[in-house]
Symmetry: C2
Subunit: 628 residues, 2 copies
């Protein structure tokens, strides 16, 4: 199949060492994600523009007055511009185009004659690159490059691409040998700029950054060691991910880009090893990453306490970026499984259903009687915006580019990774997808256009699926294997219809024993969605006292205060009786652990975790103890 | 009995509304605490002097050059001076006296002509009291006053007392109406200075601070609300403790002092209510306080995760200060119970056995494979000193004044609260105590001097004691009631011997069900000591995988690398088998929680928690799951 001009966030060069390639025309056409995209376009992105404007980030670009906001304030503008660009690519719109033009021209005008651009440095007069460990100069450059690539790919606008290439040329020409930004991000951006422009020196610079990292060259900061900035162990040698979770994800994504573009299979193997260790020992059930508030870091293995989970929304976005690159490189379903999990349960909770409020931190539990002065944001609900506003525009740009993650192609056919109604154009194949996923597990794929020769259609059978519940045409001779692609090779005809049923019966989930914080507890999942118990649905008891009392779960009907399409899960439960005697010193001599005493049966209503805190904020938990 | 001149940290005025009064001559004469006091005197205090000197805090007092260290650096000097004073009172010593004199004279010389003293303000030229929320000016003044009272009471030295009274007079005369320090401490100090000097205005100022607090008058800081500094709810109205744990304890201690000296029983009731809520919902098994790293705060009720426990050593010291004042006020054993628990398990772990290394934070669990960049101090072991060095000299002054907490008297007799070998002089009663407590539960009290009239001897039967194991002369007619005082009233004769046996058989402890982080788990205690599993004693397995497999515990013999008198506890256990299949995504569909698979029986060696991390630092846990 031909190498189309593809509107895609990642577009490996023709000689890149990848197994799968993005397709030109994935397009979400409604359903679950279509609704989220509409809210993103109509509410979140316009509101984001206002907030960015109010923060002073546009004024900074005018290079007058004092710099406002954080040193990385420029990046808020760039990420928002990237979202605008992808949105314009999905459907051109005068307002979007005007907003884009205004901001892009501000950016262009702010650039120094030699190509440098970082308003904090320009406005404060601080020496360029004198404090790269903290200044975020290259981090901002990276976001500029990504916005520029989006503008170029989505609508052919070269305003920002010229700015980005001039800046990149300046970096190539002037950056000292061992220069490293404290916050990785520019690596993946440089590779994409190389992909967009063909300029090899951008790839070389990214490769140099990846190779230089991990030798403790960055100055230390505060109480932290070099690991906080992924500067303790070289990427090629690391066995796991560590330090600041967002930085770790961006670095890994960039390293994966470098690996495939330079056919560095050793580096790719190292990244896959780290990814597997992350998934096995450092990933929350939601796909969220980072359990240590101090430094927004990964904890040690199995250090995944639900209440103190950090799970920064940006880390989830970064995780999807890394996994997508690994999926293209290897074609392995595990990467797509994590993308689906993370998208539904770690990115989406970052945004209110109305699209106008944001979580930066995503805890898996909020306790009754939480300290009213506790900074931990989940207990205080989503916020309008943040002083460090990295997360909101990160969600915007991901939702605007979600189409790119639906499908891929290889020499033999087309692979469907995410399920949403819409169309997939891959060379001379056009597929139409009809589904009410994730509420229903039924996905119908209609072949609209096809060449007159055999090719393979591959559908991801998610790891969460129950093999016995999965059905698909042509599956009779081979059982479904959750966590892999089911492949059908044939000469397709226009109008052929593939009916896939993944089964989304609600299920209980338990953790391996080493994951001590979940011992004795279960979670409820349904399809790709992680559920939670929320106080709003359980008047008269507090969520802290609830436990699951049986493994039989059923779909409920509409939940008050949530959109009508949301399917709750009903479970049998009991509420622990808080006894008078429990009100004293809470530790007592006993022959063994004290089992709670429970009252009569109650119905538990589980709602999707992404939808929590949309009806006020109260106690919530993803994990609940199981009554014996 | 007469109102002796008492060397005591707390000395209520004769008309104070207290039930119990300190005694003149409690004196630890060896044993467990005697050994700790010797190390404190011979190693910790001299080392503390060096560290304080190195920190620049003495240089600051010379008022030349730039201020070094934190804004509260002066308080390190004062707390260390307080320890020196109490030590000199216990046994005069030329070196201690010379060290004291040098530092006290530096302090005196640094005072401004009008009585003000705060070297950070003096050296930076910042306006006095212009940023009381952060400047710690009154916090330092409080520590100065406490050192001054110690010098006066312990050795009759009035150098610092003159400095302190001039400063206090200055505060009384000049502080604006609503002035409040961000960090409470001066309240309790002012009351004690009032007690020492009789100057009523000091008490009035303390009472004003207590009354002013809780009306959100302090400017907010960072992301915190007013609760972080106990400025959200007035002390008299609060139902619980909240915010920064050390500040909360110091404030409560000061409020208790104000309450008894002003016979404000409403305030005292409020404090008792808060104390009970703290004990029921916000206290770790160790007595440690504070579960939120961000802001060193209390969490919500039952928010007591062992791994992320903050349990600042200073908060434990402050807790003892508060509980002691409540004990004097009410005579209730619960306060002494918490003092004993906190002293052994929350203060003592803050100091290495050698006396030269310190924990600021005291976690109840350290996991295998902890993030090497994690700032959380426990995983990195005790440190030589801290940039914020509040904890080390706090432990020093407490150990130097520990004698004061052994016993009290009332109109009817003498009460023994803590058990250590030594003597207790209370008016015309002299008792001698012989014991190997806490290793043994046997305590023998010999009446050495007694008036020829009946009086009541009261011994605390700790709440942890098993009534069936407790024996005491005269107990035949009344069973022991753990958590109360056992009283013997008679006309005592010199030479009378009271044999008390509290029983220190090792026991399993469980938590009430709402304390979810301990569900399914047990801890081991023995007498007043909380135990833990430490990696050093379990080669070949990791502590994370260990569980208790039976309720029968026994005393072990000496533990390699710990002092010979330390009694370990041996329990039957098993090690969870980590299976290959557990190495993937750690969440699986299941009908219920996944129970670990366990290998054959192993002996578990529990060691006292206070002694952990003296043989290197590795995984450790206070709570362990119970095998079913």
């Amino acid at each position: 199949m031909s190498d189309d001009r593809m509107s895609s966030v990642v577009r490996p060069r023709p000689d890149a060492a990848v197994t799968l390639r993005p397709v030109a025309g994935g397009r979400v056409g409604g359903g679950f994600w279509g609704a989220r995209q509409r809210v993103n376009r109509e509410v979140t992105i316009p509101l984001g523009g206002e907030r960015v404007r109010e923060s002073g980030a546009f004024d900074n670009l005018r290079l007058t007055g004092r710099h406002r906001g954080k040193v990385f304030a420029d990046s808020d503008v760039y990420k928002w511009l990237e979202a605008l660009a992808w949105e314009r690519g999905r459907a051109e719109d005068d307002d979007l185009a005007a907003s884009y033009k205004e901001a892009a021209e501000l950016v262009a005008a702010a650039q120094c004659p030699d190509g440098y651009l970082h308003t904090h440095t320009q406005l404060t007069g601080r020496e360029r690159y004198s404090d790269l460990a903290s200044s975020h100069e290259l981090y901002c450059a990276g976001h500029l490059m990504q916005a520029a690539v989006a503008g170029s790919r989505a609508v052919g606008d070269r305003t920002l691409l010229q700015v980005a290439t001039r800046f990149a040329d300046h970096l190539v020409a002037t950056l000292p040998e061992n220069a490293l930004d404290g916050h990785p991000e520019v690596e993946t951006a440089l590779v994409e700029l190389h992909r967009e422009t063909g300029t090899r020196s951008y790839l070389d610079l990214a490769a140099r950054f990846v190779a230089t990292r991990g030798h403790a060259l960055l100055p230390l900061k505060g109480h932290h060691g070099p690991g906080i900035r992924q500067d303790r162990v070289p990427v090629r040698e690391a066995a796991t991910v560590e330090g600041h979770a967002v930085r770790a994800m961006y670095l890994a994504a960039g390293a994966a880009d470098v690996a495939v573009e330079t056919s560095d299979l050793g580096l790719l193997d190292a990244l896959e090893r780290q990814w597997r260790d992350m998934v096995a020992t450092k990933t929350y059930l939601t796909g969220g990453l980072g359990s240590v508030w101090y430094g927004e870091q990964f904890g040690g293995p199995h250090d995944l306490a639900p209440e103190t989970a950090y799970c920064e929304t940006c880390a989830a976005v970064g995780s999807i970026q890394w996994s997508w690159r690994m999926l293209l490189a290897t074609g392995r379903a595990a990467f797509a499984d994590l993308i689906e999990r993370t998208l539904h349960n770690a990115v989406l909770p970052g945004l209110s259903l109305g699209g106008d409020r944001f979580f930066y931190v995503n805890a898996l539990r909020v306790r009754a009687g939480a300290n009213p002065d506790d900074f931990r944001a989940p207990a205080r609900g989503r916020q309008d915006w943040y002083g460090t506003a990295c997360c909101p525009p990160n969600v915007m740009r991901l939702l605007s580019s979600l189409d790119h993650y639906l499908a891929t192609r290889d020499g033999d056919g087309v692979q469907l990774h995410l399920y949403a109604p819409g169309t997939v154009r891959a060379g001379d194949v056009v597929l139409e997808v009809e589904t009410d996923y994730p509420w229903s597990g039924r996905v119908e794929i209609v072949v609209r256009e096809t060449p007159d020769r055999p090719w393979t259609f591959s559908a991801r059978i998610p790891a969460w699926a129950d093999a016995a519940e999965v059905s698909m045409a042509g599956m009779d001779d081979r059982p479904a294997e959750p966590g892999s692609y089911h492949r059908l090779r044939r000469t397709w005809r226009p109008g052929d219809r593939i009916a896939l049923d993944l089964g989304v019966r609600p299920r209980l989930t338990a953790a391996v024993p080493r994951l001590d914080v979940a011992r004795g507890q279960v979670a409820v999942e349904r399809g790709p969605l992680v559920y939670c118990l929320e106080q709003a649905d359980h008047p008269g008891v507090i969520v802290d006292d609830l436990c699951v009392a049986g493994a039989d779960l059923r779909d409920g009907t509409a939940v008050a205060g949530l959109p009508a399409d949301v399917v709750p899960v009903i479970a049998r439960g009991r509420a622990h009786v808080h006894r008078e005697e429990d009100g004293g010193f809470p530790y007592r001599t006993a022959a063994g652990p004290r089992e709670p005493e429970h009252g009569g049966p109650v119905d538990l209503t589980f709602v999707p975790y992404y939808a929590w805190a949309n009806r006020g904020v109260g106690p919530m938990t993803v994990w609940a103890p199981m009554h014996r």
